[in-house]
């Protein structure tokens, strides 16, 4: 009896979560996959016909938005690394006893609703808003200068939205570095810069890797920032999917785009992992 219990325990532990995933992840995924291969319209209903043409059509119609999203996502991740690394570094090595406080401050904006924050950005960046108006008054910027509606505004919004997701994993990786290992590098004739390049940065890479995973994927598929801060010139694939679903009721096209995006992201993430030698990275991270 005990033996049976012991063999069953792991399965019993997995059961609730497993059921949840089956119900709310696997089933919708299957439904969407099926939808993406259906034909018809909202009035007459959709019929499964194995219509692969949906993919071809929607990709050729929206490839600009798809590529733009990937580019925005990539730029966002790179900017995030540049911004987050010094912050994480400072907290990890110079935060002293206040580390927790600083991390809390990084997370503080998250206590305000995502949409509300993005709307505030909109107010900040608007053509005659608190930021641009005084600069234009002072003659530092031309009167027709715009931020809102540009790619810069969208990427800035994305960067702002995902900053903590880059800071935290890098911080965790840096925090785990034994300060004596850094001293050892200095002791072995490495200048501060070389110690950073040869020891600190390689040891922080797993954090950067995790940070990119946690920011690139959601940034690429984000639709709020572009919606609120962008223009028709900055439309991202998330917005397209959203409007196909909710405004145009073109479920097959929306599903096909969703699957395309997912596939592209998965391929991207795996080739990225490959290029970085994740096995090594993960080994270091597993320490």
């Amino acid at each position: 009896m005990d033996r049976v219990k012991r063999t069953l325990t792991p399965y019993l532990l997995v059961l609730p979560g497993g059921l949840w995933l089956l119900l709310f992840f696997a089933v919708p995924m299957a439904t969407m996959l099926s939808l993406s291969l259906q034909e018809g319209d909202i009035v007459n209903g959709f019929v499964f016909t194995g219509h692969w043409q949906n993919y071809v059509d929607s990709i050729s119609a929206y490839q600009t938005q798809l590529i733009r999203s990937l580019v925005y996502g990539a730029i966002t991740s790179v900017v995030l690394i540049v911004l987050a690394f010094p912050v994480a570094y400072w907290i990890a090595f110079y935060g002293g006893r206040k580390k927790a406080t600083y991390l809390f401050l990084i997370l503080l904006p998250f206590f305000v609703s995502f949409v509300l924050r993005t709307i505030s950005w909109r107010m900040l960046l608007t053509d005659d808003g608190v930021l641009l108006h005084p600069l234009k008054e002072a003659g530092l910027l031309p009167a027709d200068f715009q931020v809102l509606g540009t790619a810069t505004a969208v990427i800035a919004g994305l960067v702002y939205s995902f900053l903590p997701f880059m800071v935290l994993p890098i911080y965790v990786a840096l925090e785990r570095i034994d300060p004596r290992v850094v001293e050892a590098a200095r002791d072995l004739y490495a200048s501060p810069l070389t110690s950073f390049r040869k020891v600190i940065f390689p040891l922080a890479l797993p954090g950067v890797f995790a940070g990119v995973l946690m920011t690139f994927v959601p940034a690429t598929s984000d639709y709020v920032n572009s919606e609120l801060l962008g223009s028709s010139e900055t439309t991202m694939i998330g917005q397209v999917i959203q409007s196909q679903f909710l405004s145009n009721s073109d479920y097959p096209s929306a599903s096909a785009l969703s699957f395309t995006l997912m596939t592209v992201l998965l391929i991207g993430v795996f080739s990225y992992a490959r290029a970085l030698g994740t096995e090594d990275v993960m080994k270091v991270a597993a320490r």
Partner: protein
């Protein structure tokens, strides 16, 4: 009674001149090293020994360049290195818990310093191979540190430092993380390697056994000051302060008043024939309070009053008997209330000499008494 450094050279390998080091704590300067003047000779195996917080690690870190003295100078081979960055000092360190680079292989770890110095590739390969042979790690070049045992990691740390042929090797409690057996093995090995490479070793430890076994000279530190500097034998046999007597090995301390003194000896009369005889430099005034140290293994234990005793004689009651295999340790409460520890070698008899509660007599030769602070 300090011995001079073994090798004479133009300059000591390391020299501290009037060094003081304060740490700031809540805006107040707390001294870690109060006052240090010390010269460590070329090729010497030198130990800094003391309890935690005594300033030994700070002292070593000032040599490496991780700490800068608040006052005074640190010299390497006669060159003032005060204020010089750690990467520009020709000393290397073996860290407590090794601090190996976890993302690099053994080979890459050992080659790290040579690469920074821009040594030619072929030369690096040769020297790394040679060094790994000295520390018996040949064939492990491609391993990652975490795939190795503590003892092996220890050797990598040693090789990584020694391969650079530094002016001095600094070792910060390098054996602390190893188990007893491995530690004893590594002690012998370290000594062998030091002889082989002929580099000055500065060894920081709180383990007196380690320091006594390996060192040419030992500086016993306490509260930021050197309490005693000397050979292991000096330190053990002739502790100059109460602290050293207590910190190194087991020591019996006996207090008393000098009853009479003559020809380099003083006698503390404890009444009814019992006394402590202690050699003293010059003369000490009669009536002076004196503290005498005697090592447990120097004391003989008798069940009957021995005749013809020329040295010290005390009597007491056995309060504790602990069998240790090679020896049996007795605790004896003497008539004046002092507890004395006696190690009796189990050389001949399997039986204990005395048992708990028994009245015994303790004797030891005059030269085995040592006056503290005279």
């Amino acid at each position: 009674m300090t011995t001079s450094p073994p090798k004479s050279a133009a300059h000591p390998a390391i020299e501290f001149v009037g060094v003081r080091k304060d740490y700031l704590s809540h805006g107040e300067a707390v001294p870690a090293v109060r006052s240090l003047d010390l010269a460590i000779g070329q090729g010497e195996f030198f130990s800094l020994l003391g309890p935690s917080g005594c300033g030994k690690t700070t002292t070593m870190r000032m040599v490496a360049g991780f700490e800068e003295p608040t006052a005074g100078r640190v010299m390497l081979d006669g060159r003032d290195v005060t204020g010089v960055a750690p990467n520009k000092r020709d000393v290397n360190m073996v860290f407590q818990s090794y601090a190996l680079f976890p993302h690099l292989t053994v080979r890459q770890n050992v080659a790290f310093g040579l690469e920074r110095k821009k040594v030619a590739k072929a030369e690096i390969t040769r020297r790394v191979g040679e060094m790994l042979e000295i520390v018996s790690l040949t064939g492990m070049e491609k391993r990652q540190p975490r795939e190795m045992s503590g003892g092996q990691q220890q050797r990598v740390a040693l090789a990584r430092a020694l391969v650079n042929h530094p002016r001095a090797l600094l070792l910060d409690e390098p054996l602390g993380a190893l188990d007893l057996k491995l530690r004893q093995q590594m002690q012998i090995e370290l000594k062998r390697i030091q002889r082989e490479v002929g580099i000055t070793f500065v060894y920081v430890t709180h383990d007196q056994g380690e320091a006594l076994t390996m060192s040419d000279r030992i500086a016993v530190m306490n509260s930021g000051l050197i309490e005693q500097l000397g050979s292991p034998r000096d330190i053990y046999e002739r502790p100059s302060t109460r602290f050293v007597a207590g910190f190194i090995g087991t020591s019996n301390l006996i207090d008393g008043r000098v009853s009479w003194a003559d020809q380099g000896y003083a006698v503390i009369d404890k009444g009814s024939g019992e006394r402590v005889v202690v050699p003293v430099p010059g003369t000490v005034p009669v009536g002076r309070d004196l503290e005498v140290s005697v090592r447990p293994e120097k004391i003989d234990l008798h069940r009957t009053l021995p005749s013809g005793v020329t040295g010290s004689l005390l009597s007491g009651t056995v309060t504790e008997v602990v069998y240790h295999g090679t020896s049996t340790n007795y605790t004896v409460a003497t008539s004046d209330g002092t507890d004395l520890v006696v190690f009796d070698q189990n050389a001949h008899d399997a039986e204990d000499v005395a048992s708990r509660g028994e009245r015994v007599f303790l004797t030891w030769a005059p030269q085995h008494s040592y006056p503290i602070g005279v």
